[in-house]
């Protein structure tokens, strides 16, 4: 299954991330950037840079902890315009500059910890970041992908999309 995410934005020049589900417990997210991988890797691992891009613009972001080394903890919070806080935290498992980051990922309040592996591949000065998000249980993965209910690109959830419209 391939999902092309459908960000409705005035900046439609940006290529949407391609999200796939290769098996029952994984989500893969792939996106290319017009920069060498050293620069992209830095943007992922330097909190001074991360704070400028992680999350939607409308959120304020605070980085409570970011200890970029194996065993190091990370923790950041998004604050919505109404003051609602969304916390994320985990642990770095592997840091191989500028090729690979392995880290655990928890969305506070959501069930299931995931293990995320980000691979940085450079071709002709462009970098493709492939993130593989591995969940412990299929339900947790499916919860993350429940957006299919709205985008209607998955056979099973396709019908749920209908369901959501008809029962509005």
């Amino acid at each position: 299954m391939v999902i092309h995410s459908s960000m409705k934005s005035s900046q439609s020049i940006a290529k949407p991330a391609v999200i796939t589900t290769p098996n029952d417990t994984e989500i893969r997210v792939e996106r290319s950037f017009d920069s060498p991988r050293e620069a992209v890797f830095r943007a992922y691992t330097d909190p001074k840079l991360l704070i400028h891009w992680m999350g939607p613009r409308k959120y304020k972001m605070t980085i409570e902890q970011m200890d970029v080394r194996p065993g190091g903890r990370w923790h950041f919070t998004h604050i919505d315009t109404d003051g609602t806080k969304y916390g994320f935290h985990g642990e770095f498992r592997e840091i191989l500059r500028p090729e690979r980051i392995v880290q655990t990922w928890n969305f506070e309040g959501m069930p299931g910890e995931s293990l995320q592996t980000a691979l940085f591949e450079e071709h002709n000065g462009r970098t493709t970041v492939k993130s593989i998000v591995k969940f412990e249980r299929k339900e947790h993965r499916d919860g993350m992908l429940a957006s299919n209910m709205e985008s209607g690109l998955n056979e099973g959830y396709d019908r749920l999309d209908e369901l959501l419209r008809t029962t509005h």
Binding site: S5, A14, A17, V29, A43, P111, S147, M149
Partner: protein
């Protein structure tokens, strides 16, 4: 929406048979027999799925004479969908911002 509800909703919709049941119920109320008809599983198995859906608050059941009716309660599904759509948009908007950040860096160091 609390975590338990969210979790129960996810588990309920993770199963293809239960999604088929929900789709059928989206067209209107149905009896247990009508739901079981097109499914390649026994009626007791269907009843088990209905129990899971009821526990997750996704369906309501009632009895009328000899018939057992099921009706969809879509609110928990909508809540999951709203949450998950935001998750998907989260990454697209983040990556757009990363594009801008990287462009600034490239412009600063030609």
């Amino acid at each position: 929406m609390n975590d338990d509800t969210l979790s129960a909703t996810f588990q309920a919709v993770a199963d293809p048979t239960r999604r088929t049941i929900l789709s059928r119920l989206a067209q209107g109320e149905a009896t247990v027999q009508e739901l079981a008809g097109p499914l390649p599983i026994s009626q007791p198995a269907v009843s088990k799925h209905l129990k899971v859906l009821e526990k997750a608050g996704l369906i309501e059941r009632r009895r009328e004479a000899q018939r057992r009716w099921c009706r969809l309660q879509a609110k928990p599904l909508r809540e999951v969908a709203v949450w998950a759509t935001e998750f998907q948009q989260y990454w697209d908007e983040s990556f757009e911002r990363l594009d801008e950040l990287l462009k600034k860096e490239r412009d600063a160091r030609p």
